[in-house]
Symmetry: C2
């Protein structure tokens, strides 16, 4: 018998939300240990002993290592709890979920994060999360907004041809896209443009799922 | 019977190398269609019909869609040719390979690419690959070099405690790390520092594998 893993995460962290939604869609229950980012708890010695990179989320296995990085936590959960697959079911669909999830992250989620971190007054030397300090580059704020606008256009076009981001089935690609859309609206004040009918249709459907509240 | 997929790729593309090495480690053979990046063939109508994002590599399935993005091509190949696993074998090792491969990519490979693309005279409006144009940001060149130096430090520390990047077994995390080290040496003139014994020990071992020449 192994005891359960523990998820270290924060309600205010969009990356943590990607894992909470994944867990909610699976219908499983994982004990949670909140990390108070407002109080900079991620830089405490206690948290660095769990994740030396001072990032959330992180999944501490009961009798094994700590798994950090959203994609790695997802993979662990998908392999351990295979019911309600969210990373695809065939070689082809697993590849397509990987491809579309990655595009949502690199073209959408990462630019929102870049725009936020390079603008926030409290993050002058913390333009990138992780163990190293980097100064903000103000030019990146404007470029990030251009990238988010292009992401909205590209995903509106995609979702005019398919029900869900990776095709016929709800998947982790939808989770990252939903987290991106809400993060852009809240943190960059960039909601989905009114004219983007397909993206709005998809958003209404996906954000009505119970997991969206996780 | 399905016919074989075709890999569209370029000998000069470090991302293509990540797929070639994966294929070589598997000991499989995939037909290759070269894309001449020097002649800008990736922007031709013919290639855009294969990958509208004008990126290599891309794996065109014989009776299915085109799979783009290195991680997606890897996942397809791992599922289709499970012998010689390169993405882990247990839930825990699959998660750890995902985590370390991602760190190699986001902390190493991506900064080298960012440093190269923001400096190259021929890429003034092409600072990011993909379907959209973005202007170069000169400040990113210096920051990228700082990030690569930190990557060398972090991975030297990691490889002082393990044989391979993700642990005891050679994996896709080693492929991305090797592609990063060679890309940094060639394109940014940043070889592994002399003092980094553990990273050099690992490099000597991994670059002697036949797949390193792929």
């Amino acid at each position: 018998m192994t005891s359960a893993p523990v998820l270290h995460e924060s309600k205010s962290s969009p990356n943590s939300r990607r894992v909470r939604m994944f867990i909610a869609e699976k219908g499983i229950s994982i004990p949670v240990q909140p990390v108070d980012l407002g109080a900079k708890e991620q830089f405490s010695d206690a948290y660095r002993a769990i994740n030396p990179r001072s990032q959330v989320p992180a999944l501490a296995l009961a009798d094994g290592p700590v798994i950090a990085e959203v994609l790695a936590i997802w993979r662990y959960l998908e392999e351990t709890y295979p019911d309600t697959p969210l990373l695809g079911t065939t070689p082809q669909s697993k590849a397509l979920v990987t491809m579309w999830e990655r595009r949502a992250e690199l073209d959408g989620f990462a630019p929102v994060m870049e725009g936020v971190r390079n603008a926030a007054a409290g993050l002058k030397d913390r333009a990138l999360s992780g163990p190293h300090d980097y100064k903000q580059i103000p030019e990146l704020v404007e470029r990030s907004k251009q990238r988010v606008a292009n992401f909205f256009n590209d995903f509106n076009e995609r979702l005019a041809t398919v029900r869900y981001v990776a095709g016929d089935a709800f998947s982790a690609a939808d989770i990252t896209t939903l987290a991106t859309v809400d993060f852009a609206a809240n943190a960059l004040k960039m909601p989905i443009p009114e004219s983007h009918d397909a993206l709005r249709r998809w958003y209404d459907e996906v954000s009505a799922r119970p997991s969206a509240k996780a």
